[in-house]
Symmetry: C2
Subunit: 340 residues, 2 copies
Amino acid sequence: MSVARIDTAALDAAQTRQNSLTKPQGSLGNLEDIACWFAARQGKTIPDMLRPHVCVFAGDHGVVKEGVSAFPSVVTGEMLKNFAAGGAAINVLAKQNAARLSVVDVGVQSDVSTIEGIKHAKVRAGTGNITKEAAMTEWEYWQAVAVGEEQAEKAIADGANILIAGDMGIGNTTASAALICELALFTPEEVVGRGTGVDDEAYQLKLKAVRRALQRAQHTPSKDAMRELGGLEIAAMAGYYRAAARLGVPVLLDGFISAAAALAAVAWDARISGWMLATHVSQEKGHALALKALGLEPLLDMNMRLGEGSGAALILPLLQSAIALHRDMATFESAGVSDK
Amino acid sequence: MSVARIDTAALDAAQTRQNSLTKPQGSLGNLEDIACWFAARQGKTIPDMLRPHVCVFAGDHGVVKEGVSAFPSVVTGEMLKNFAAGGAAINVLAKQNAARLSVVDVGVQSDVSTIEGIKHAKVRAGTGNITKEAAMTEWEYWQAVAVGEEQAEKAIADGANILIAGDMGIGNTTASAALICELALFTPEEVVGRGTGVDDEAYQLKLKAVRRALQRAQHTPSKDAMRELGGLEIAAMAGYYRAAARLGVPVLLDGFISAAAALAAVAWDARISGWMLATHVSQEKGHALALKALGLEPLLDMNMRLGEGSGAALILPLLQSAIALHRDMATFESAGVSDK
């Protein structure tokens, strides 16, 4: 598999430029690092401003039958209607931060075929119940990955230079917790959180479901964590990340589900993580651990736990500001300001 | 002194609205709190989008003679030219985030009277050397406060509904450290930091200067910390915060200098802190302590340490997103989405 290379010469040139701008060296903190990070990914001393595309992938989860979620599976389809009508958080954030938005049905349980304005690419109507069976077949797994890859390719062809994958799927914090345990070697106790807000009883059921799914997966011939434990939308997100890294376009990670997809992508090829920026750490237990396993440092902690790509879309203007500062500030020389 | 009241009925109504929006309750984290915070300050269930004004106050510091800064005092005036020409960080951030920007000479040492596009309100050409004498006279102190008050009143009259005070002044982390020690009862060891980036030798001189200034101030009849230890630009910022709270318009705090000014304003009237939002915690040692003393929790940690209002201007789009989500998201009822 091919992963685009990072331009270290552009990185050095960008760092030199940062040190010439009218401010004490390093005083813009993370904003300096962000500008240089994009310089190295775009291969330009002064990177272009960001043209973001958000793609929300939706799928359902058979494990919801185990009582692991505060909301019923029907909500996934209802939320697709809400996305199409512009009423969800990600609609508002995409509009506010000038990002294009696509919504894709990869595996919603309800029939959403009559909803207009979304991409219909259903691979299967929800995964299997991972406590008892594989989430999906080998063929379904690669189909879902291909849906994500295609969306990334299309967004890039349409001019995007930064990609965000969002998720919608009742039950997907359970699948993501299982994936993160399997891929990054944590225990369910470390990783399983409250998701959309389950009570103590459902939390115990969730913990038990993840334990059972992990035990079951250990005794199957397949060694692919996503196929055994994952989700159709999570597989698509992993494919989206992989295609972006292949085409040399950075991605912004969002929350817990996004981290599970990122770990799956990195399991294909570790170099993919070089194209990922961690935007925030969520309230979901285990997200901080998953980011650590990815070797990524989140920029914000806003106590969010919504998904949909919301945390990643929120941070876009901070990245735009970092690039604008890098591009537009005067140098000590041009402004006639005395250096140290 | 009068301080505008906070509307708790609007706060309750805003919280009720948040809980009706199509997301798990609380899942937008700090963004929910931010929307409700503005609702309570604007007295509206759905607050208006922000119309921000940034005012950068500039002044010099006699204590620079003690070798406390990495840059010479002449840089303050040079940076005023840079602000007027649009080349500084705050120019870029104000433009990027649709904020109006004013720059005011309250006490710059150099003659900057020929620079166009800035407000000329010099009270005195730099403060006294606080290790040996009061920073300013009683009259100068209240003059500087009045300059800040006037700027806040003018910005509000021109339509601003959120104010940011920025600072420019070589040596002002030394004055601010002394102020924070005096007003919030910390030791110089806890509060004195590296400012624009002093080396170990200058750091020791800075620590010694703050200790001497605090000892001197203890033996003077005046009990006003700002007059003894402060800065002309810091006094103006305190006045700016006071006028905003009187007129019922919130302010966004920036970094270390801003926190010193905020503590001085709160020493006049504790209720002023109800109109302050802490945007970020800077790299400057003591900033986190000063915010704690103010009872404020910063939203971001971007490792910044520039001043000029930069950290506060950077965060504006996150606040706009919080308000847009609160205003534009569908409710469970309107979108036909099943609640728990």
